[in-house]
Symmetry: D3
Subunit: 135 residues, 6 copies
């Protein structure tokens, strides 16, 4: 049987939900106050889960210090205290919904973590709205 | 791969665990202080998870405002500040254990949410006792 | 300078806000859904703060095991899994608002704790509504 | 002795720390990543404390539904899903530090709450950084 | 469909990560400050999940009072306020990483719970580092 | 009126409550399982509150990055992943009760923070037992 290890990190960012192919009215109708022209923001809580077998010499599935550093380099240093729409290239043509942010984070980390490990991401936009990828 | 979106809501309700087919002694023995004649109560925290594929136009698996409104209409407006045993018809002949409450909520929401989406419910009776349906 | 020690306990209870001197209409108007005839309930979180000087032999302001036992005997064993209006004598003629519950708890504990110590009580009815006595 | 009642609300907003009287270098040096040109954001948790004597007829210091509505009208409807620097007039010439936001909120609510009540505000910018006004 | 019930318990323990087959340098390099000679410690939060079908007579998947007592007897009475490396026999030759502690707890409880029920354990070492077994 | 700013930090440490002037029996009787010979441990959550007037140029009472670094240098780098009794000189002859740890932290930080600011420390040993100094 496998074991999962989970690391919690966070970042604070501005964003705006907007589909440039739509009219202002349609954006307002679908995204409501999340479409605010001048952006709004969140304290995002991020949980990264790595699934594998513990190494018998260390008792570790994955070194949590190494996982922390990977998340810092590939996610939080790039997203924290930023405007996701304007400052993070992945969202230049992608709406920064929680679902899309989670998938972008998953892809960034999947490229760094050996394929023997499964990877899942949970992202809290608020304590009442959060997403998991993959489900 | 699919994405899950989760919405947290809550309601405050009175309830009592009791099996009318049993003697008072048997009820007391099995349910203990949860069988208190005059009811007791909880702040229930409810997490509703909807699993599907994000819509490419919105980046949404499911519009969380719509999910919030569905939960309000079909669950919290009917359960909040109520006595589950006396005020909610589903528990007229069903013991309002956390397991049964979660299944009742799941059925109420399953009828409202398109079959393309999977649905799961997590219900906290206290921060130390909670249930998931389906597991 | 003095030091405060704080102990967290909890109890789950049913209650109803109601003023018997008023009409049903007036009760409904003032207390809204908190006036529900058949009660509703809460997970109450209780914080008891004792203020004094640490004993040089133990480093303790107050033995937390003793404080835990006092709260159990004089508060939670009497309130937990009960209907505050019907099962707890202090509320026979006193509306069990959070403010009044906190004052009743304070009086029960004040009688047990030596006067050299100051005493304060914080009571959470929900995570969004709570009270402190004395302020 | 008086009793305090506390109501928790929240809002999600973008902001940027910036002193227009300073050079870009000085702003960067003092405010660091909080000075990001394109803003960043937070989930702000707001606790409003009202201190007074419970009314003997209701057991309430202050009707929490009324307090909730006051906070909604005078604070969260004006701040939630907004850019504090650009969308909220009070910050046109005032840096939206947590300290200043708390004082602005206090002033907005102080004007609405009778002087017989004391008023205090606690504002969480993150779970690790928060402020109280007045201290 | 099955239902899961989850019980939260906790224990406070000292531990040290150390592989006796390695040099002091190698231990320091791999385990860092977790290798501190004189131990360090944690408040461990433990979630035990039991999966099965609710009994139609009780509405219970598993009696939570019984689950609480099993965890107390087989886990927390043996781990709480102990030094895992020195006081708990299972770790005499097993590094008390969170992964290994979770597996030891799972084995202790699996022996007590009927095979008709599935069993999972989640163990928080800190709120930012936690593990699930089986994944 | 003054404003308070609060910073949350944490450290994980082993400790043991013990009075060397007492017999083993007396230590066991007073400190119970906290007297365990081989130590136990906690995740300590530390809140440091600094009270003063916001600087009109920054809107800051105290630069939180500076406060974070002071706490790191003078407290958490010295306490984290340590055995308080054996590794931290202040407890060589002082019982590391939560009350005494809070006072030691307060003294360490008081020496670093200008006298124009008031200083208070809150230390959580567990989420159910915590202390404030000064009260």
């Amino acid at each position: 049987m496998k074991t999962a290890v989970i690391r919690k990190e966070h970042f604070n960012a501005a964003h705006r939900l907007h589909n440039p192919a739509w009219s202002a009215e349609r954006n307002q109708e679908v995204f409501g106050k999340c479409n605010n022209n001048n952006y709004h923001g969140h304290n995002y809580d991020l949980f990264v889960k790595v699934i594998g077998e513990p190494d018998p010499e260390t008792g570790y599935v994955y070194d949590m210090k190494e996982l922390r550093d990977l998340i810092k380099e590939h996610v939080t240093d790039r997203f924290d205290h930023k405007n996701l729409n304007l400052d993070v290239p992945e969202f230049e043509n992608l709406n920064p919904s929680a679902e899309n942010i989670a998938a972008v984070i998953w892809k960034a980390l999947r490229a760094q973590i050996d394929e023997q490990f499964d990877l899942k991401v949970t992202l809290y936009e608020t304590e009442r709205n959060f997403v998991e990828y993959p489900a």
